[in-house]
Subunit: 231 residues, 2 copies
């Protein structure tokens, strides 16, 4: 199971080793060398997992972890130096899912990554109120909150339901009457209602509403949600 992983580590040698090893496991890896930048990126485009060094310039790993965890439960693996084992308590307290002490074997880290990912997917999948993600678009169903990048955008209840429904069924084309039925709960009604709501939703969600990339119209059929991260 491939995942998007953000590695936050100021030692370029360690970062590269970790990245190579994780990429060999089929993951998509991004590297950052400073805490504040890590937080910014993680908020803008939430990864599936964070590998986080404890000692970082500008903002340490604990702060980053805490800040992120306020937003949504992103899985985190902490990297700690050998002498920092006292911090293990603090690290686990802030909600890290696992920790690895330096010097570590890349193989061990990879195993932990797999383990944490497995747990995380098991934990979020069956729960009805999860987090829908696509690129820099994040939909927190439980909190009823949507953010595009690091900015929160306010959606109407209907807009929210519509977006959530489309994102839950990516690449699936829905007719207007089908959406009217499944989102609105109506069995009759004017289908132009859907059209207008899609338009308003695009205005808020699409970078360029005149050229939609997420909510695509399927001519003669209806609409479809197109995920952005397809490598």
């Amino acid at each position: 199971m491939s995942a998007r992983i953000l590695v936050v580590e100021d030692d370029p040698t360690v970062a590269e080793v970790v990245a190579r090893y994780l990429e060999r496991d089929g993951h998509q890896v991004e590297c950052v060398d400073d805490g504040a930048e890590a937080l910014r990126r993680a908020l803008a485009s939430p990864p599936d997992l964070l590998v986080l060094d404890l000692m970082l310039p500008r903002m340490d790993g604990l702060q980053v972890c805490r800040k992120l965890r306020e937003r949504w439960p992103v899985p985190v693996i902490m990297l700690t130096a050998l002498g920092e084992e006292i911090d293990r308590v603090v690290g686990l307290e802030t909600g890290a899912d696992d920790y690895v002490t330096k010097p570590f074997s890349p193989r061990e880290l990879a195993l932990r990554v797999q383990s944490v990912l497995r747990r995380a997917r098991g934990a979020t999948a069956p729960s009805g109120t999860g987090v829908l993600r696509d690129g820099d678009l994040t939909v927190d169903v439980g909190a009823h909150e949507v953010r595009l990048g690091d900015r929160e955008i306010t959606l109407t209840a209907r807009e929210f339901d519509l977006l959530a429904h489309l994102m839950r069924n990516p690449r699936q084309a829905f007719s207007r009457t089908a959406l009217l039925d499944q989102v609105w709960g109506w069995s009759f009604g004017d289908s132009s209602t859907v059209t207008v709501h899609v338009r308003r939703l695009r205005e808020k969600v699409e970078p360029d509403p005149t050229a939609p990339r997420r909510i695509v119209t399927v001519w003669g059929v209806g609409y479809r949600y197109e995920p952005s991260d397809v490598p």
Copy 2:
């Protein structure tokens, strides 16, 4: 959904991590480092849940579990070291409700605890104690006392229950009818009741009630508790 939890663990570091984490979920946690003592205490004052290490001085976890189960169907989560996985079978056989292998993530343990408590909710009565904290706001559920900074503020019974319920489920959006059901215990009624109580609660809890930062309204949905950004 708060509970009294007895943690039986001889490693003080692990015990402390577990205790802190569970307390943050609003549970009332007690720690013991010895099997026989655990059995004594659990029999004297039965907790809602037992977190039980397998390897213990004087009496191992399995014996404790078995002895307890003879007298009281207390829910049990087993902690096992990595190499002891064979004992997992035995642990479940003796009636443990779940097991977690060390090293474990506190988050996973917390999830298991919630899950086990949910399952066992029908058999054991929840006691409803603990301390909820967010920034300068402290809610002592047991003492029924609320402090904002160094000042104590007086809340009505309903206001207290409402605040506690929201803080126990941070960032989770509740509809008015859901709150009416979960806090008031009604299955019908005027939802404007909730509106007014939220208003009165904001008047006491929010620094600026006209611009709420903690109890946020989600338009067309209901309300949500937003933890403060300051760690």
